[in-house]
C-alpha cells in the first residue's frame, strides 16, 4: 500500500468542522468547538448541514456526504475535524469520492462512528488518519486536549505515547496498559471502535490486520456482545493475523445481569486474546473515556509489553 501523509496544521490554517454521522445534542456545542479552535489560532469553516436533523443523523446521507466532499475539495481547508460520532458514517462509504481524497491529502480526526471513515479511507487511499477525540469531546481533560492539539500540529515523530497523569482517587478503572499477554511487536497501527469494525466486515472496506498492531475500543456493549464481535473477528482470522493488540477503554460494558452467572469484560478478553501468542494490552486510554490519546492509522509503531512498563512508540512522522 502506498502511504500518504497529511501536512501538520500551522496557526492561521483553516479547518473544517463537519458532522458525517449524528448531529450534536445541542447546537451550542458547535459554537464551543469553533471557539476552542479559534483560540488555538485556526480559522474554522463549519459544514452547512451540521445541525440538520434526520432521525439521529445530521441530515440526509446526501447532505452529510456533501459537507464531507466540500471539505476535501476546499484547497484552504487543511484538516477535517468531526464534531461528533454517533451513527451514520458507514452509510456514506460507497459514495465517497476516494480519488478526491487521494488528490487532497489532509488531516481527518475523530473516533467511534468515524472509525468507518478511517478504515475505508485507509483501504482506498493509503492516507494516514487520526483516531482521536471528536471536537465536542476534545476538551474533557487537559490530557485529551493536549493530545488533540499535539496530533493536529506535530510535524515530528510522536515518540512514546504518554499515559495521562493519575489525578483522581480512587483512580478510574481499568489500570493503564495491563498486560494480558506479554511480548513485543512492531507494525502499522490500525483499529477503532469494535462495533464499526464489525459493521464493515465482509465489505470492500473491512479492516486489514495482518502484521499490524490492532487497537480496539467500544461503548455500551456488554461482555456477551463484545464476545460476539471477538468471535467474528477470530473466525475471519483478523485476531490471529495481528502483530499485537491494544484494548482501550470499553465504557459502560458492565454486565447488566440478565444471566445467572456472567463473564466480566476481562474474562472475555482473556478467552479470545490471551492465547494468540502475540502481545496484548488492556486499558490504554483510547476510546470513550475522559482521558483520550490519539493514535494514527497507517503509521508504523512499536509495542513493548515485555514488562509491566508497557511502551507504545511512534518513531516516524505522522503529519509532515
Amino acid at each position: 500500500m502506498n502511504i500518504l501523509k497529511p501536512s501538520a496544521l500551522q496557526r492561521g490554517d483553516t479547518v473544517a468542522l463537519i458532522c458525517p454521522a449524528s448531529r450534536p445534542f445541542d447546537p451550542g456545542k458547535i459554537t464551543q468547538s469553533v471557539q476552542m479552535l479559534e483560540q488555538q489560532g485556526f480559522k474554522v469553516r463549519v459544514g452547512e448541514h451540521v445541525v440538520k436533523r434526520n432521525g439521529n443523523f445530521a441530515g440526509s446521507d446526501a447532505q452529510r456526504l456533501d459537507d464531507f466532499h466540500r471539505a476535501w475539495a476546499d484547497p484552504d481547508v487543511k484538516a477535517i475535524i468531526a464534531e461528533r460520532g454517533g451513527n451514520g458514517a458507514a452509510r456514506l462509504l460507497p459514495d465517497i469520492d476516494y480519488d478526491l481524497i487521494r488528490a487532497n491529502p489532509k488531516i481527518l480526526i475523530g473516533y467511534s462512528d468515524i472509525t468507518a471513515l478511517h478504515l475505508a479511507i485507509h483501504r482506498k487511499t493509503g492516507l494516514v488518519t487520526l483516531h482521536g477525540p471528536v471536537a465536542v469531546l476534545s476538551q474533557t481533560t487537559r490530557y485529551t486536549f493536549d493530545r488533540f492539539i499535539h496530533a493536529l500540529t506535530a510535524a515530528t515523530p510522536w515518540g512514546d505515547i504518554p499515559d495521562p497523569p493519575v489525578t483522581q482517587f480512587p483512580p478510574i478503572y481499568p489500570p493503564y496498559r495491563a498486560v494480558v499477554a506479554p511480548g513485543k511487536a512492531s507494525g502499522m497501527l490500525t483499529g477503532g471502535n469494535m462495533t464499526l469494525i464489525r459493521q464493515l466486515m465482509g465489505s470492500p472496506y473491512d479492516i486489514e490486520t495482518e502484521g499490524r498492531i490492532l487497537f480496539l475500543e467500544d461503548i455500551g456493549e456488554e461482555p456477551f456482545e463484545l464476545d460476539m464481535i471477538f468471535t467474528q473477528l477470530a473466525h475471519a482470522g483478523k485476531l490471529q493475523q495481528a502483530a499485537g493488540i491494544i484494548i482501550g477503554v470499553c465504557a459502560e460494558s458492565d454486565p447488566k445481569g440478565t444471566f445467572l452467572t456472567n463473564f466480566s469484560l476481562e474474562e472475555v478478553i482473556d478467552q479470545h486474546l490471551g492465547k494468540l501468542g502475540i502481545p496484548v494490552v488492556y486499558g490504554m486510554r483510547l476510546g470513550h473515556t475522559p482521558d483520550q490519546c490519539v493514535l494514527p492509522i497507517g503509521v508504523h509503531a512499536m509495542l513493548d509489553a515485555t514488562t509491566n512498563n508497557v511502551r507504545l512508540s511512534i518513531e516516524e512522522t505522522v503529519c509532515q
Partner: protein, 320 residues
C-alpha cells in the same frame, strides 16, 4: 440439491442441546420435555445443558461435545436447541460437519443459533428448521401446532406468518408493509439479524445471491438494526438477494435516553426502498409469541406486492 432430514415419527427421540447461553429458568426443562413426550417423542438431554460457565452452558468444548455426540447418536432423530441469545457462534470451529453430512437430522433453533444454521448450510447443504427454541416452542397454541406440524409433515408448509387475529374487539395486528413490490422465488436463507451480520467476513458467511433473505431481531435498539442493515448492504448481501422478508422484530425500540432517533419502520424505510429487490415487513416469523417454523434452504416464493411468503417444500422428507 440440498439434503433433507427424515421427518419425525411418534416414538422418535429428540436430543436437546444448549449451544449458547445457559437457561435462567430451570423449570423450562420439565415443561418442554413433558410437552414433547405428550406428542409421542422421547427426549434426551445433552450432558452439559445444565452447566454454567459465565453466561454459557458450559465451556465451548463441552457444548460442542454435546452437539457432536447427539448428532452421531443414531437413536436421536432431531437436534433441538435450548437458548437463543448468545454463544452458539463460538462452537462453529468445533462442530463435526462430516457427521452432519453422513447423518442428516432435523436441526431446530433460532436467534443466535442462526450462526449454526448458516454454517450447516455452507458445510453440509442440509435444510434446517428456523423455529422457536426449547423454552419457547409452546408460547401459543398457534406456535405449538405449527411447530409439531413442521417436525412431522412432509407436505409443503404453504403460506406463512398468519396467526389468528387478536380476540379483543377493535384490536388488529399491525399492517404488513411492502417496501419494494414484485415477486421472486428462491431458496430461503437468513435468520437472526445480529447472527447474520456476525457471519460476514468469516468462512461461514451467509450466501444471499438469488435467495430469499429472511431477517428477524430481538431486543436490539433501532440504531443497531440500522447498523446491521447497513453492514449487510456494504457487504452486498441485500442487493444480491432475490427478495427480502423482515419478520417480527421483538422489542426493537429506541434506547432510553436517545434523542432524535428513528423508529424501526423508519430504519427499514431508510434502506429497503433504495434497493430494487422485492421486500416486505411484518410477517409473524421470528421470536414473537405467535410464530411458525420455516425451513432454511427450502424453495420459497415471495410476493411482496401481495405481502405473502409461500414455502414450497417441507423441512423433512419421508423417513425410511
Amino acid at each position: 440439491m440440498p439434503v433433507k432430514a427424515p421427518r419425525l415419527k411418534p416414538g422418535d427421540t429428540i436430543g436437546i442441546i444448549a449451544p449458547g447461553e445457559h437457561s435462567t429458568t430451570s423449570s423450562d426443562m420439565q415443561v418442554g420435555r413433558a410437552l414433547l413426550e405428550q406428542h409421542g417423542f422421547r427426549v434426551v438431554f445433552g450432558s452439559h445443558v445444565s452447566d454454567h460457565y459465565g453466561y454459557l452452558a458450559g465451556e465451548d468444548a463441552a457444548r460442542a461435545d454435546d452437539f457432536n455426540a447427539l448428532w452421531t447418536d443414531k437413536q436421536i432423530r432431531a437436534i433441538f436447541c435450548w437458548g437463543a441469545v448468545w454463544g452458539a457462534a463460538r462452537l462453529l470451529s468445533l462442530i463435526d460437519f462430516d457427521s452432519i453430512r453422513r447423518q442428516p437430522k432435523l436441526f431446530i433453533g433460532c436467534g443466535s443459533v442462526t450462526a449454526i444454521h448458516l454454517a450447516i448450510a455452507r458445510r453440509a447443504d442440509l435444510i434446517t428448521l428456523h423455529a422457536p427454541d426449547f423454552s419457547t416452542f409452546y408460547s401459543s397454541r398457534y406456535t405449538l401446532d405449527a411447530f409439531m406440524r413442521a417436525l412431522t409433515s412432509v407436505e409443503p408448509f404453504g403460506d406463512v406468518g398468519q396467526p389468528p387475529p387478536p380476540d379483543i374487539p377493535g384490536v388488529t395486528d399491525p399492517p404488513l408493509i411492502t417496501y419494494v413490490p414484485g415477486s421472486a422465488s428462491g431458496r430461503l436463507t437468513g435468520g437472526n439479524l445480529g447472527a447474520v451480520v456476525g457471519s460476514l467476513g468469516t468462512p461461514y458467511e451467509i450466501q444471499t445471491e438469488g435467495r430469499i433473505l429472511f431477517l428477524e431481531a430481538r431486543d436490539l435498539p433501532t440504531f443497531t438494526v440500522e447498523r446491521h442493515l447497513t453492514a449487510l448492504w456494504l457487504a452486498g448481501k441485500l442487493q444480491a438477494a432475490a427478495g427480502i422478508v423482515v419478520g417480527e422484530c421483538v422489542n426493537c425500540v429506541t434506547e432510553r435516553g436517545e434523542t432524535n432517533t428513528f423508529s424501526l419502520e423508519e430504519v427499514l424505510e431508510n434502506r429497503l426502498p433504495l434497493l430494487t429487490v422485492p421486500s416486505v415487513y411484518g410477517l409473524r416469523l421470528g421470536q414473537g409469541k405467535d410464530t411458525m417454523p420455516i425451513p432454511l434452504g427450502a424453495q420459497v416464493r415471495l410476493d411482496a406486492t401481495a405481502r405473502r411468503l409461500e414455502i414450497l417444500e417441507a423441512a423433512a422428507n419421508q423417513s425410511t
